[in-house]
Subunit: 351 residues, 2 copies
Amino acid sequence: MAARAGKVTQRQIAELAGVSQAVVSLVLNGKANDATRIPDRTRERVEQVIAETGYTANAAARRLAGVGNKIVGVFTYEPAFPTGAQDFYTPLLAGIEAEAEQLGCDLLMFTSAPVRDGRRRLLHGNSRLRLADGCLLLGVRMDGDELGALQAEGFPFVAVGRRDVEGVPYVGLDYVAGAATLTGRVVEAGHAHLAYLHLEQAGESIVDRMRGVERGCASAPGIRLDTREVDEHAITADLLTGLRAGGVTAVVAETAAQAARVWEVATGLGWDVPRDLSVVVLADPPRAGSRLPDFTRLRPPRTRLGAESLRLLGRILDPADELPDRERRTLLDCEVVGGRTLAAPAHPAQR
Amino acid sequence: MAARAGKVTQRQIAELAGVSQAVVSLVLNGKANDATRIPDRTRERVEQVIAETGYTANAAARRLAGVGNKIVGVFTYEPAFPTGAQDFYTPLLAGIEAEAEQLGCDLLMFTSAPVRDGRRRLLHGNSRLRLADGCLLLGVRMDGDELGALQAEGFPFVAVGRRDVEGVPYVGLDYVAGAATLTGRVVEAGHAHLAYLHLEQAGESIVDRMRGVERGCASAPGIRLDTREVDEHAITADLLTGLRAGGVTAVVAETAAQAARVWEVATGLGWDVPRDLSVVVLADPPRAGSRLPDFTRLRPPRTRLGAESLRLLGRILDPADELPDRERRTLLDCEVVGGRTLAAPAHPAQR
DNA sequence: GTCCGATGCTCATCCGTATCAGCCCGGGCC
DNA sequence: GGCCCGGGCTGATACGGATGAGCATCGGAC
């Protein structure tokens, strides 16, 4: 009963039970082919010894012998925790972890991946990737070559977020539809001239958001859209004043940081949001509280995204699961949250 | 250069380079005993093939062959992510992850551990524990038997948080000193009758906080201390009214949830905090923002705790590091944060 | 020519587990 | 008595890599 000193192997158990190591393995795995039959007497004796010694299988050996070991790798192309990305990754990881608990698998976080060309590399000299049965890939900018290499050698993986690479399974967020809906709301509210503040155009999700905004503008005739690539630090009083002078009555921001900055600068100028300027944003704010308003926004279901991604990987890994092709690539809907930063424009459109 | 299809083994590389598998291994590990010498010509040829094939070592095989693989297990006795514990574990994990990146090691999260007797079990039938070089143990309530078993078989681990078990290495938080200091501040402010609201007395950290509060009260003569074991739901108007009628002018709360509840109930009664009742708390509030006041409190450096724990484990795993015994068990100081919920009692002590 | 030492490798084995082919033994049948 | 059959196991091998022991070859010294 008492946990014993030293690590116990199947061979030791075999000796104690007076059988061969093979029998121990068979008992442990409940394999009873017609070729290999274990009578109850023997099985019980072996099980007894297993219980007494507190045997724990060596996962490395199992893996080497070609058995799945219920470990899923998690790789993030951008470092995951350093505060900036934390609000982004935390809900994702929460979903992944919850699902992992559900599936009974462990998570191997590849925190060691070396950085090269500004991105972390998954496949380096002694990557621990192969310990895992499969792998989740997170991050905005993935390496096409690495994705290709993984596919080529048949290593099972799922991308978190839509990927344009042929054959890559993913679960993503339907940013096109979401951004279109939210932008449509802005248009419905009476705005005819919008500005879209976005990030550098890298990564599928960023492209999708842009397309969604454009589609939302196209939902009514004659809508004008200014697009500006600015990170939040570049959002100044000059920028906003310029936009407004040009006739812009509503700003669509890609990130919460941009929206926060717009609100701060606008408020600093003495403007009222949303009376003087509506502000909507395509992401959730970093944290509740603070002095920021309740933005009208898109709520990407990140926790669900994490969970569904792992679920998909689980199905891919399950040989019994005949996964139809279209279920290998799915998009989750984003909810539009009312908020208080969208209103009809105070001054009707000028042209 | 192009990543090749199929997984590449040392044997394949050996064939391509016209050497034996042993040479490939020697080249990869830079082992050049006097017994085994590899001339530059051969080494370069092998390295060339390695680069061309995009070889990645099989971590399971390495581990099986007895090499450390730079994987650190992370085990939480309470499920880690489910929202309740999230605010507790997130900063810890942030510190652990940052340090892991520093050390170049991967993290294996044991999300699969089965629950028995209300706790998760680390050592079950096919635990993946043995894949890791060592392991961090988080959680309030650890299993003494499991700690003992790990020690007995010499598996390296570090407990996050002080442990009373002989020989267990840990990094903890100095709750005794912290709670004593904070409670001392309350006493210095003129309070002579305090109430301490605490949780069920399980786990070393909870005991430590209690001892600290008692020590803080002992810093001046004649201080009275009421202790109540209540979770936040049991904090009612009746309870607070009773305490105050009994002469209590300051409440020390163990958890942020308790403090928040005290503040809500007190405010609901029309009391002013801190004029009518001072409230201090031995933990950080869950999140910034919300309507809660800026509590006078202890700030446990959880992120640092995570990082230091992993650092300690790293040193234990490093055979070159002669770790003095006293450094195997350390406590980190908790900072006292000013806040606005402690003031001199409006009505001087009655006895 | 022989012996020695250094050089440059290869061989064999082990790590712990899974799996399959096949051996031994006892009993029943002809 | 010989044969066959099925139950109950064991042995051998593979997985990929690390490593100590040792073998073959060559140049040089005597």
